[in-house]
Amino acid sequence: MARKSKTTPPASAPLVLPAELTIYTVGELQPQWLSWLGAMPVGGIAQAPVQAAAVDQIDAAGLQLLLSLGHALEALGVRLQLAAASPVLREGCAALGLTDWLLQHSAAAAAPQGAGT
């Protein structure tokens, strides 16, 4: 299985979702995302941008991890904001009844198709 997950992003940089967001990657993504959460400036921002253009493989475990990130951010008073959600991510959300959730967590500018950022 291809592992394209990236290294820990620098503090306050947007989180970039990997190409593969599945049961095979959630285990290693979780600590990375947690350290990204930890590096977030406290109380400074209302929205946490997450680049979602690269996602090309997804399953329920991957989406659950994303939901969980959303909950963690919410607890910090921050809204998860997915930018440029890839078609795969959108389809995955639709298949799991998360279309509304995706809409609520999309950056307005990212509504049209946008593979690049």
Binding site: I23, V26, G27, L29, Q30, W33, L34, L37, I58, D59, A60, A61, L63, Q64, L65, L67, S68, L69, H71, A72, E74, A75, G92, A95, L96, G97, L98, W101
Partner: protein
Amino acid sequence: MTPGSAENDRSFIDEALPVFISEAQEQTAALEQLLLELEDRPDDSELLNALFRCAHTVKGSAGIFGLDRVVAFTHHVETLLDQLREGRLALTPALSTLLLRCNDQIRQLIAQARDHADDEDPAKMAERTALVEQLQQAAGVAGQATLVPADPAHAAAAAAASGMARTWEVWVAFGAETFRNGMDPLTILSYVRGLGEMAHLVCDSAAVPPLDRLDPERCHLAFEFGLQTQATRAEIESAFSFVREDCVLHVLEPGATTNDFAALIEAMPDNPRLGDILVAAGVITRTQLQQGLRAQSGALAEGLPAPLGEVLQSTAGVSPLVVSAALKKQQKQRDGGPGPAGANASAADEGRFIRVQADRLDDVINLLGELVIAGAGAALLARQTRQGTLIEANAEIGRLIEEIRNGTLQLRMVPIGETFSRFRRVVRDTAGELGKDVQLEIVGGETELDKSVVERIADPLMHLVRNALDHGMEPPEERQAAGKPAQGRLTLSACHESGSILIRIDDDGRGIQRQRVLDRAWERGLVEPGVVPDDEAILRLIFTPGFSTAEKVTNLSGRGVGMDVVKRNIEALRGTVTLYSEPGAGSRIEIRLPLTLAIIDGFLIGVGRSKFILPLDAVVEVIETGPTISPLDAAGRGVVELRGQVLPVVSLRNLYALDCTAPERSSVVVLRAGNRRYGVLVDQLLGQHQTVIKPLARMFRSLRGMSGSSILGNGEVALIFDVNSLCQLAAEPQALLSRALTTSTEGQTS
């Protein structure tokens, strides 16, 4: 209540109703606060949302209890609030007044529900109808069938409920091991899609923990979907065959009635969100859901087989589950809603509070009182045995009891702010009625005191606030003429002061005109005509029974039953009330109350064979008397020199005519009462004593200077002094004092 509801059902409802009532009261209180806050910040969308949530919660939970009147009326309020929330309407002062009146109406309806008043006064009904009309007018929906919720899901819901569409409703919660077993809910749902058309699909992600607590390989997902298909139940279920072992699956036949959904919700009390999800999915409307829940409990109570779906096996004892599910849901909404003080409970607060019935706490405190007394008894016996280890063990127990006492009493402490903020509305309405413009300021709302004190101080405070508005505050013109700002200022403040709480009501009104008070007192024979008492005494006359200076009797105050009752109520709480006033500049009323009515730290003293207790908080120091004490007067009062200053002292032996001879040596206990100090002459100092306060027996009620009694470890009774009234007693002029003491003696004998 549905007609089918039998005894059984009623008893469930009866059990849960008080919880609903108390929560609904909180919600209406929050509604009022929010409305008042909104007047200052009419565009605050968070306030508007919170407002809507409150109304929605009241309506929702009232529906569960079948309180149709509350539901129907609150629905109209909710409609209007929704329009406000969406910015289609702006909050005008008139609208605000209307909503406040509606909130009162909701309160009344809830009170009716509490009293089980099923019959209603036609006048009240007419009043409500009028309010509804105004609401509709304001919302611009007059003539519409307003009971039909305006959500787009309604059409689908109606179709589903009437059974026209062949739509199966499926609820599935995947087991924790789903992912590890190599299964993917996404694939399974895609497969299900192949069976027909998925009408709606909602993912319940509420069970997904936040990232730091998530085991990413465990599945926490659940789904609700409608499936339009020709497939059979077996075919639908087979889609889940690979995960059937550890998932929770409920499949409802097409044409399922709201009752079936209700049954489904009941079958899953752990998931109070299901009802919301069904509503959000447009499967049913909230009204239908509530009706269903109601009908369901009714049917069960009658012993009929409930029309449950095939996979639902749970039938017995369902009603308590509905209730618990409903209450849980309510709890959840409430936790997310605004606090009574208007503060939003943060996510971190969730789960930090538990709700305990006040009387359970009271029972514990009563028991604790007994424990303290028994502990003191045991310690006494231990001392008599003169066994060091036993005494030590008892001392340790005593220390622990004291800690438990402090901890337990702390549980009953509530901030006074809630009571204070009720006055916003009172001030707003009363000032409006009187044509005055008054700004209420609240300071120290976080000051805590015993819940039982808070409850009993609300009424006296209300009276004092109204009095200040009615008598103290001038109309705007008069204020401007006097060179004051047109808007009056009323301040309610609270703070702790040496073991008691000090509540102040300040106004910047016209103050008390002493001459008018005096004239009235002469006229009423309260003071010998022509006699002019000192300033303080004049102000105290206001608290005399039968005194009223209002030139016209308004419906707010001025019936002359006010201030003396206020004073009596405050004194019943072992408190004192004092009035200060500066003519032209305003008045200040100070209420001092003990923090608790149950147990205090006392200082035990002896005079002759009698034992007394002084509140330890009030004791400043203890001195041995020397030759510096001046001769005492007939009431046992004199002065003593303390570090170059004169300190008034009072001898308890003389004051209360205790029948015993004075010992050679005596001590003076220096007490603090407000900002004064005075000494009490006593024979023996017996040290600190945990004092369980018992009310005074009827025959001692008239005794001045006492606030209660307590039982000592050896079974003796000790009277507890009230330092404030003792101080007044010590300071009163001779003539008045002897009169006061004779009346109290007469009171005892009569």
